[in-house]
């Protein structure tokens, strides 16, 4: 039994099932991120944890106590909303103290906690302002302060950074991470931004279509995606997915792919992999960092293969240059060193690190191992 | 709620309809200075007997607003003690069983003898006195500007033709011949007199009281409508919607020769400092010299616990007392509702009117005015208004108007 247990929880609106049987269990101090495109059910699940929406079937428990039918206020949780949901008519101080006030905490006890939290978030100078007078980042801090001051069992974050500009978002992300490390609180965090998911979490639940597609650590999710959706959704630029056929080769099996211009190439899998699937049509997945120029290839890898491919586009991005070719009719992006001398239109050697290759069934889109 | 409704009206009136003990609450629409002064006579009389007066005035539409309010008040079980009413409204309320029986006070004060029978028709229901008449207005008056009459050499017209000739004379002299306000009840007031004059008393009785379809659809009726068309020709173009008192002002200000209006118009003349027979003339509409069409304001008493309260009895008694009758009618322009008074305090027109009223009453020529709801129910009266006013405004020709009159009566009977 974990700190927060979600057991077979479902949610339906009438005949429409928006969340299918979901099982997640996290320990105290974990940072769980629910990530997925909009409409995937992540916010619904968060609201169910918060008690803002009823559970259709199944159970949600915190610290072993079933939360079904328990009011949001009695779950000892705190929530930070996408729009921050600061009470516009109250000052910052009023906003932060409102929850304590509602729980009947006397004023003398509230004051030091407000001061402490304000200090922690560096908003002490804003306490007498109204939300309308604050910048986006300041509002974000106040919203977090409001949650922190409650000292809840679980923090719930509902896309808290999506209303901030890019720079501020990165700063706040770091700050949330620091805060988590400092305070060791249990957090459930909803986002559609996979980078936030990867950077912040101790564990990620990738959701799509009302199902949890995969639950795991960031590394598991990134390196070992359970299906094509997870593979495509996580990582930026996203994983290259292109059709291939598994054929026998000198050292075992190879992926036979169609290059631009009608030629085919064979790229052998790492030692012995995929031998059981020879002759099968598959989708081959390789992240951009596993497709490089020759000198940029991972020196630790035992399975780097060079294939001459025609270059379609080059996209210099400062630290790297992304080079695009076509394989099996799909654009395939490689991450090359910045100073590599490559031009569109010419043919260039691409290094494929097949240790990182993952293989999917084109029909079910599930992983083939 | 459904079933209890009808029973409830009476029951509620019984249980909760009491004003404070020792007070009377009076619903009326007499809010002008003169009328209020007249009512004050009544109020003072009652306060002399230790009875307070709670005033509930609702003016507008010649009492129609007040009647709407009355219906709400009675339905809610909060009926006023006494209510000013006209003609068939009294009968309708008596039918609902909502009015108190005033027979004791009537017997005590001998009302049967002094109140004319034509009035008793409204003041009594089913042999019981239910209302105390305050006054008698007669409606078939002609008001003429004496200065214009003298200037143009017009004598009092005795017949319709003479009247038309007189109107023509005034018109030719560049004045407005007939001052008139285009409101349905004013149109009907004229028609009232015209119909009486055209068809005589029997015709009037048959058509407007008995609602005899032959009389309503007769050629006489068409003739009456034709005469209305003639009169329309003597009215200025700007008559529509004009208040009656503005029409009177036209006569007062030497702009118009005649007005056909009830005796309340006299108050306007008197207020303007005019004297009867010196500045203005009053006489009956030509052809109705021996008839009087009237309407009578009465106060009906709402039933209080199945009997008449002492206050109501006192109020009813005070209303028909000679002092109040004289004092009130002097101001109001009407004549007393009892035939046994010395009216030397009234002005010339008032004295003349009182004599004519007594004479008509004695000879059976006292008729309730249909235009003022004293010949038939409100539904019929208003249905007739529609036809008369539409015809007067040129929407119907006379033949159509006659047909419409018949069908209007059929629908609303």
């Amino acid at each position: 039994m974990g700190f927060l247990d979600i057991k077979n929880a479902t949610k339906s609106y009438g005949a429409v099932k928006v969340l299918h049987e979901t099982n997640i269990s996290i320990e105290e101090g974990e940072f769980l991120v629910l990530v997925g495109p909009s409409g995937c059910g992540k916010s619904t699940l968060l609201n169910m944890i918060a008690g803002l929406e009823d559970i259709t079937s199944g159970e949600i428990a915190i610290k072993g106590r079933s939360m079904n039918g328990v009011k949001p206020a009695e779950r000892n949780i705190a929530m930070v909303f996408q729009s921050y949901a600061l009470y516009p008519n109250m000052t910052v101080k009023g906003n932060i103290s409102f929850g304590m006030e509602m729980h009947g905490m006397p004023k003398e006890q509230r004051e030091p906690r407000i001061a402490q939290v304000a200090d922690l978030l560096q908003i002490s100078h804003l306490l007498d302002r109204k939300p309308g007078q604050l910048s986006g980042g300041q509002r974000q801090r106040v919203a977090m302060g409001r949650a922190l001051v409650r000292e809840p069992d679980v923090f719930l974050f509902d896309e808290p950074l999506s209303n901030l500009d890019a720079k501020l978002r990165v700063d706040m992300r770091t700050e949330i991470k620091k805060l988590h490390q400092k305070l060791g609180t249990t957090i459930v965090y909803v986002t559609h931004d996979q980078i936030e998911a990867l950077t912040l979490s101790t564990r990620i639940a990738v959701m799509f279509g009302g199902y949890v597609q995969q639950l795991g650590t960031p590394k598991e999710i990134y390196d070992d995606p359970a299906n094509m959706f997870v593979a495509g959704f996580m990582g930026s630029p996203s994983m290259n997915l292109f059709p291939a056929k598994i054929v026998a080769s000198a050292n075992g099996s190879a992926a036979e792919v169609a290059l631009h211009g009608g030629q085919t190439a064979q790229i052998p899998f790492a030692n012995g992999a995929m031998s059981a699937h020879q002759g099968r049509e598959i989708i081959l997945g390789l992240r951009p960092e596993a497709i490089t120029d020759k000198d940029g290839a991972d020196r630790n890898s035992q399975s780097v293969h060079i294939v001459e491919c025609p270059v379609e586009v080059t996209e210099p991005a400062g630290s790297d240059t992304f080079v695009v070719t076509q394989i099996g009719g799909k654009d395939v992006t490689g991450r090359f060193r910045a100073d590599v001398n490559v031009k569109a239109g010419e043919t260039f050697p691409f290094a494929f690190n097949m240790e990182k290759a993952v293989v999917f069934d084109p029909k079910t889109e599930d992983r083939i191992r | 709620m459904m079933k209890s409704f009808k029973l409830g009206v009476a029951a509620l009136a019984l249980s909760t309809g009491l004003a404070q003990a020792g007070d009377v609450e009076v619903l009326h629409w007499w809010t002008s200075g003169g009328e209020a002064a007249a009512l004050n006579v009544l109020k003072d009389d009652l306060s002399g007997q230790g009875i307070g007066w709670q005033d509930m005035p609702v003016a507008g539409g010649g009492g129609t607003q007040a009647m709407t309010v009355l219906r709400a008040r009675v339905t809610s079980g909060n009926a006023p003690t006494a209510v000013q009413m006209l003609g068939f409204d009294i009968t309708d309320w008596a039918k609902e069983g909502a009015l108190a029986n005033l027979n004791d006070i009537a017997a005590d004060k001998n009302w049967d003898a002094v109140v004319p029978e034509a009035l008793q028709k409204f003041a009594k229901y089913d042999g019981k006195w239910v209302a105390a008449p305050v006054n008698v207005h007669s409606t078939n008056w002609v008001w003429a500007n004496k200065k214009l009459m003298d200037e143009l050499g017009i004598a009092q017209p005795q017949t319709w033709d003479e009247f038309v000739a007189a109107l023509q004379k005034v018109k030719d002299a560049g004045y407005t011949a007939l001052a008139h306000g285009g409101q349905a009840w004013q149109d009907a007031t004229i028609f009232d007199a015209v119909a009486m004059s055209t068809g005589g008393a029997d015709f009037y009785q048959k058509a407007f009281v008995d609602l005899d379809e032959a009389a309503l659809g007769s050629d006489t009726m068409k003739e009456a409508f034709d005469r209305m068309t003639t009169l329309r020709g003597f009215v200025d173009d700007n008559f529509s919607g004009r208040d009656w008192n503005l029409a009177t002002a036209m006569v007062i200000n030497n702009e118009a020769g005649f007005q056909l209006m009830g005796d309340w118009a006299k108050g306007e003349f008197l207020n303007a400092g005019k004297t009867p027979n010196q500045d203005f003339l009053c006489y009956r509409f030509p052809g109705t010299q021996s008839q009087v069409t009237f309407n009578s304001d009465q106060f009906a008493m709402f039933d209080q616990n199945g009997k008449v309260s002492d206050e109501q009895a006192a109020l009813a008694g005070a209303i028909l007392s000679p002092t109040f009758q004289i004092a009130f009618n002097k101001v109001k322009g009407s004549v007393p509702a009892r035939t046994d008074l010395d009216v030397s305090e009234l002005d010339a027109c008032g004295q003349q009117g009182y004599e004519e009223f007594k004479a008509a009453s004695a000879s059976g020529n006292l008729y309730g005015s249909f235009a003022h709801g004293h010949a038939n129910k409100a539904a019929i009266k208003n249905a007739m208004y529609d036809v008369i006013t539409a015809h007067f405004n040129g929407e119907y020709d006379s033949a159509t108007a006659v047909q419409e009159l018949v069908s209007a009566v059929q629908i609303n009977k």
Binding site: K71 | G61, T64, V74, A184, D237, S240, D386, T389
Partner: protein, 301 residues
């Protein structure tokens, strides 16, 4: 409540708390059920009875409806409502929109002018009716004044003309509510995203095209709200007609509201009055229900 008792109560209390929104709404629901729908049902019932001065419960079938349609004044009232309603709503919307656009051009003293446009809504027609009646009266009003200036041929006697009188009612009614409609449109205009306007200007839209193609289509919700308020006022216009023309000249400006009042109260024909009220309610429903339907369905999407 004793402490021991509360032990067993949480479930009950919780249920109570959950029902709280419904409990809060319930007085309103009860009020509306009785005082609106109950009364409508009662009126429908009355329309089948021979009620005269007070409600009675003797059924007479469709007689009141048959009689109603035989009464010429009812025809006039219905067609007047049609003429009046359409003109009133169209002119109010057009004028309100025009004024809102004019006022939206960064006008100095906007607040002052807006108050002037808006104030008629504050006055009851018992009050302004007399002023309008005078103003429209050819003998003493506009016609007399303009003729006094030397324009002897100037004629403005609509209020006395039975074919034109209904239009004078439109004039006065527009006067009363167009300012309110203006405020609604002004609010709508202020709510439109200014970046979109800039984009349209950069796209080369003329001011006219800007309003016709970009602004006005976005005012649809304001149009809808205005329509409901105006339709509601058009149908209920009673004071206005009574104060201005009393339904005249003749019966030329009779409208259903005056008809209904007159038959129910003045003429003691409560049955026919109720029948006319039922017809009127059905007409209202025919206009309002589709509107509500579209509005509420949209909300669900």
């Amino acid at each position: 409540m004793s402490h021991a008792a509360t032990e067993n109560r949480p479930a009950l209390l919780d249920r109570l708390r959950e029902a709280l929104p419904k409990i809060v709404l319930s007085p309103t629901v009860a009020i509306v059920a009785i005082f609106v729908y109950g009364f409508i049902a009662f009126t429908v019932y009355l329309s089948f009875t021979n009620s005269r001065i007070l409600p009675t419960f003797d059924l007479v079938g469709w007689k009141n409806y048959e009689n109603l349609f035989k009464i010429r004044a009812w025809d006039i009232a219905v067609s007047n409502l049609l003429v009046f309603g359409i003109l009133y709503i169209v002119i109010c919307c057009a004028l309100g929109l025009l004024l809102a656009i004019l006022l939206d051009q960064r006008i100095r003293a906007e607040g002052f002018i807006r108050t002037i446009y808006l104030y008629p809504m504050a006055l009851s027609f018992i009050v302004t009716g007399i002023a309008w009646k005078w103003f429209l009266d050819p003998g003493i009003g506009l016609e007399a004044v303009v003729q006094g200036w030397g324009f002897e041929n100037f004629k403005f006697g609509w209020i006395k003309d039975r074919d034109m009188a209904i239009y004078t009612i439109v004039i006065a009614a527009v006067w009363q509510t167009s300012g309110f409609v203006m405020a609604m449109f002004l609010a709508g205009l202020r709510g439109i995203d200014s970046e979109m306007m800039k984009a349209a200007q950069i796209d080369g839209a003329s001011t006219f095209a800007l309003y016709r193609r970009i602004v006005i289509p976005q005012l649809r919700p304001a149009f809808m709200s205005a329509f409901v308020v105006l339709a509601h006022m058009a149908i209920k216009s009673y004071d206005l007609v009574i104060a201005l023309t009393g339904g005249g000249p003749g019966t030329a400006t009779e409208v259903p509201a005056t008809f209904m009042y007159s038959y129910t109260f003045t003429r003691n024909q409560m049955g026919i009055g109720a029948a006319s009220a039922v017809i009127m309610l059905m007409t209202i429903a025919a206009i309002i229900v589709p509107y509500l339907w579209s509005e509420l369905r949209e909300k669900k999407q």
